[in-house]
Symmetry: C2
Subunit: 399 residues, 2 copies
């Protein structure tokens, strides 16, 4: 597998662009991603029951038609704006469709940013022609820039691999920052591939890959109303058709997991105020649900996260978070390690080198390992530490 | 009902004291509370499955015997210390029993503070005689001081009321600060009463009152391994026996709820770094479980908490937290208000006075009201805002 630093325009037949339309101050805030030929597509959306109107529209379009373009804006989530928000999204899609000479159902739309503010539709419409004119393989990554909110940097990757001697490529970019949680929080993620793949196989691969990556991370436990992951597959690689099972499906899914895991890590490290990546691995659980529950309990513990930020090896907070998770466990069997340094077993501290442990807490990535010794199920959750900067960013997000 | 500023020594027949034994620097860290006559007792403990050893000991003592004394230390949780921690707790209880001339089973013990550090037993034993000698009605509140960790101030209250013309009094004090969550987190709470009450009635009243108060608050979602609420009833008020039902039970429970609600609010306002009390009231839920789930989802949202801290009326975060809670709801029916200012209905913002809303966010207490309009169940959860100071306190708790 070859890995590239470029993103969504790496696979054959994709172009993108980003412009500043005036939602944000100075920064790029309107993006467009197109496939030169109609592409089948799939998406995973937030499980928040009070969600943004673009989600219903996109679901309908993906079901009805092949897709050729995605329009996205940042700085305004167009969420909780009632019927007006829905109509604004539709209106923008229609404008883009006319401009790009495709059916409205071939256009998807996504928004991210502040909630409950109407889209400045006139500003956005005005910049659509410029956006279309700028479409290119986008060497300046303007599309990946245009989707950002409080993110510090562009997060993208692409990989290629062979399916029966034909090179297939997957590219992607993501925005995140706050409200990041299982079921994908404030995430917008755009994936492209030139693979020839069945619609059902694309859907299955995306669902499984998201479950193993984006849905296993949390920043602060908040789940946003706008989260969306989109994938388009335009078939230009001319590989042998990938079906819902078999070797080529496995290859495709593996590459997709690689892309999404890379984007997940970048997203965590670029989370609001984050200084460290924390990986919580729970094994020996009786059920997969228990493994996830215990891992998320540790990952969402603000006490664990602040200890990591403060580089304070206060491992009792990890044990306590496991105990609080209501999973099946036998107290005497629970083990907690940092990297391979065992600190807790038989309900008491183990002999360990305190300097070694302190050094682990100083690292940019902290691995917390929990073994419940009650079964053979395991789960890994990614999170970040909780810093003063997170509070500063979120105390005045709108003001 | 009469309300007093004094605490656990307000009911007849209780004495208490606090001393500095050397666990903490300079501050009081060892406390003793006694009843002059044997008292029936009840307790509610943490649901954390990896808990402190004092809990098993206390449970056995409460079941076996009337109780006459509670020893408590702060600064060291004596938790995750294995068999040694259990034996240390027993040893201290035995020492106190000899000194106070009571059976060991008449003594309870509780610890709070840093996890996974052995108790400095010699220091504690050495100060027990001084502690016993100082026992009094404790006008300086040294007992309530001795239980504190990162708390800023003593939190106590007492109330008295009449049962068939006999005055009955309930007193209490609490410590909290961090790790506060439903199921009582890091809380240690001591309650005393001179009521004549059946053991079963005392247990029932305590369980119900805790469920309505301490278990409906959250600071950051962490549940500590040491949480304990104790109540002693020594019968010195000589009132007509309170049974598990009837008017006098209702009176007693009402007074107990009053005491615990007052302590809960004080605990929230004294939470680490807290600047505001936030009350989330969810009504119109299909089930009580849904009402609680939605209220806790809002209460545990760090985005909501940081917005309250920043006095930023970012109500979209409340709507999003409700949507993320996975409760039964119909999007179009959900209403969100702050005090009586309706901001969200029919999935869109309502017309409201932005200055009035801004003023609400500047208040010391913020009332968030959610109506799901899907049923008639309701729940109220208390929490506080999340400030920079919380991070500072928790990033270096041990160092």
């Amino acid at each position: 597998m070859k890995v590239y630093k470029t993103g969504v325009t790496t696979p054959l037949g994709y172009k993108s662009a980003g412009v500043h339309c005036g939602i944000k101050t100075r920064k790029l805030d309107l993006g467009l991603l197109i496939s030169q030929v109609p592409a089948i597509s799939a998406a995973v959306f937030t499980t928040n029951k009070l969600y943004s109107p673009h989600i219903d529209i996109d679901k309908a379009h993906i079901k009805k038609s092949k897709v050729q373009a995605i329009v996205v804006n940042s700085g305004n989530a167009n969420c909780y704006n009632g019927k007006k928000g829905y109509n604004d999204a539709l209106s923008l899609i229609n404008k883009a469709a006319v401009l790009l000479k495709v059916k409205p159902a071939a256009v998807l739309f996504a928004s991210t940013g502040i909630i409950a503010k109407l889209l400045p539709l006139a500003l956005m419409n005005k910049k659509l022609p410029k956006l279309a004119k700028k479409l290119s393989i986008d060497v300046k990554d303007e599309f990946s820039h245009s989707i950002l909110t409080t993110d510090r940097e562009v997060k993208q990757i692409a990989v290629s691999f062979n399916i029966y001697h034909k090179q297939v490529t997957i590219g992607g970019c993501i925005k995140g920052a706050g409200m990041i949680c299982p079921d994908m929080a404030t995430t917008l993620c755009f994936l492209t591939t030139d693979a020839v793949i069945k619609r059902e196989a694309l859907k299955k691969a995306l669902n499984q890959a998201v479950a193993e990556t984006l849905n296993m991370l949390t920043v602060e436990g908040d789940m946003s109303p706008n989260d969306s992951v989109f994938i388009m597959a335009n078939g230009l690689a001319k590989n042998k058709l990938i079906d819902s099972k078999g070797k080529s499906f496995t290859q495709f899914k593996k590459a997709l997991v690689y892309v999404l895991m890379d984007l997940s890590k970048k997203l965590i490290l670029d989370a609001e105020g984050a200084t460290k990546l924390i990986k919580i691995h729970v094994k020996g659980a009786k059920t997969l649900k228990d493994a996830k529950k215990a891992a998320f309990s540790v990952a969402n513990s603000t006490l664990v996260k602040t200890a990591c930020y403060g580089q304070d090896p206060n491992w009792g907070r990890v044990v306590s978070a496991v105990g609080a998770s209501r999973v099946y466990l036998k107290p005497d069997k629970v083990e907690v390690s940092f990297d391979d340094t065992l600190v807790f077993k038989h309900m008491q501290p183990q002999k360990y080198d305190i300097n070694k442990l302190a050094a682990i807490f100083k690292k940019k990535e902290i691995d917390i390992n929990v073994n419940l010794h009650c079964g053979n199920k395991e789960a890994t959750v990614l999170t970040c530490d909780l810093s003063k900067k997170y509070i500063v960013i979120n105390a005045h997000y709108r003001t």
